[in-house]
């Protein structure tokens, strides 16, 4: 399953990716606040605007909560790996975005259940996927080597160099 929210200006471009951070965590909801705080600082260091930072944090938090509730069916103590990569183009100093990859060893997710629900249907539940799709530029789910993988990308609105000036 792959989706894009239509910000096509990046779609044709080739990006390089540097490992920024790799977290090995367990499926304990209490750990979510630690991931949010860490990711908030990482996104800030990459010069994401506050609205974009909240979008990234919200998406990763919702995705992790989905893993805990659905892939691991509420069982705690099971492994989740979260990898953050910094994306850049021809100029390595100009960060252009962040890629987040979540991997879990839970039950295979049925792609037909990854549609969320219509927002007109006012009832509890089913909002997490909607938040992710609204907040990230690319969302891609796959099943590889017995693991669920969720890849999400958020591009910087205006690429900036590490010194803060506008990049390429």
């Amino acid at each position: 399953m792959k989706s894009s929210n239509g910000k096509g200006r990046k779609a044709y471009k080739q990006f390089h990716a540097d490992l920024l951070l790799k977290l090995e965590m367990r499926s304990n909801p209490e750990a979510l606040s630690l991931v949010r705080a860490t990711l908030e600082r990482a996104a800030e260091a990459l010069n994401f605007h506050s609205v974009e930072r909240r979008a990234i944090v919200r998406s990763v938090d919702e995705a992790l909560a989905n893993v805990m509730r659905h892939a691991y069916e509420g069982k705690s103590g099971l492994p989740i790996v979260v990898t953050f990569r910094r994306l850049y183009g021809q100029n390595p100093q100009a960060c252009e975005g962040i890629e987040v990859l979540l991997e879990d060893e839970g039950v295979a997710v049925n792609p037909s259940k990854l549609k969320g629900r219509p927002l007109e249907d006012i009832r509890p539940g089913g909002l997490g996927l909607h938040f992710i799709r609204q907040s990230m530029d690319e969302v891609e789910f796959s099943r590889k080597h017995g693991k669920n993988q969720l890849r999400m990308v958020k591009y910087l609105a205006i690429p900036k160099t590490e010194s803060g000036s506008q990049g390429e």
Binding site: P29, E30, L32, S33, R36, V51, R54, V57, R58, D61, E62, A65, M68, R69, L119, I122, R123, P124, G125, L127, G128, H130, F131, Q134, S135
Partner: protein, 110 residues
């Protein structure tokens, strides 16, 4: 997350603070449904001024509370939404189905 309750204007004010996420939304849900379904409080005010974060499970609990209040004819009133909470409400397009006020004074006089 912390929840403190106080009485006011024929209802109960629940002051929420901290993060309402997968770890803590069950506690908020329990407090909210306790006021609405068990105590049958005619007006339940949620003060969200100090809520730093709310996820979809927190929003789901608010929707559940709203449905429960409509079933018994009571009111669920939200006020002082932080930027984070407001953004999530807009994303879920729920801001129009809740009674939302800017501050406590406006909420209590509604």
């Amino acid at each position: 997350m912390e929840i403190a309750a106080r009485e006011s204007q024929g209802g109960t004010i629940l002051d929420l603070s901290g993060d309402i996420d997968l770890a803590h939304s069950p506690a908020m849900r329990k407090a909210l449904l306790g006021e609405i379904k068990e105590k049958r409080t005619p007006k339940v005010f949620l003060n969200l001024k100090n809520v730093r974060y709310i996820d979809s499970s927190g929003i789901a609990s608010l929707v559940e509370g709203l449905k429960a209040s409509r079933e018994i004819g009571s009111r669920l009133i939200l006020y002082s939404l932080s930027n984070t909470v407001r953004e999530v409400m807009q994303l879920s397009r729920l801001q129009k189905i809740f009674e939302i006020y800017e501050n406590e004074e406006q909420a209590l006089s509604s």
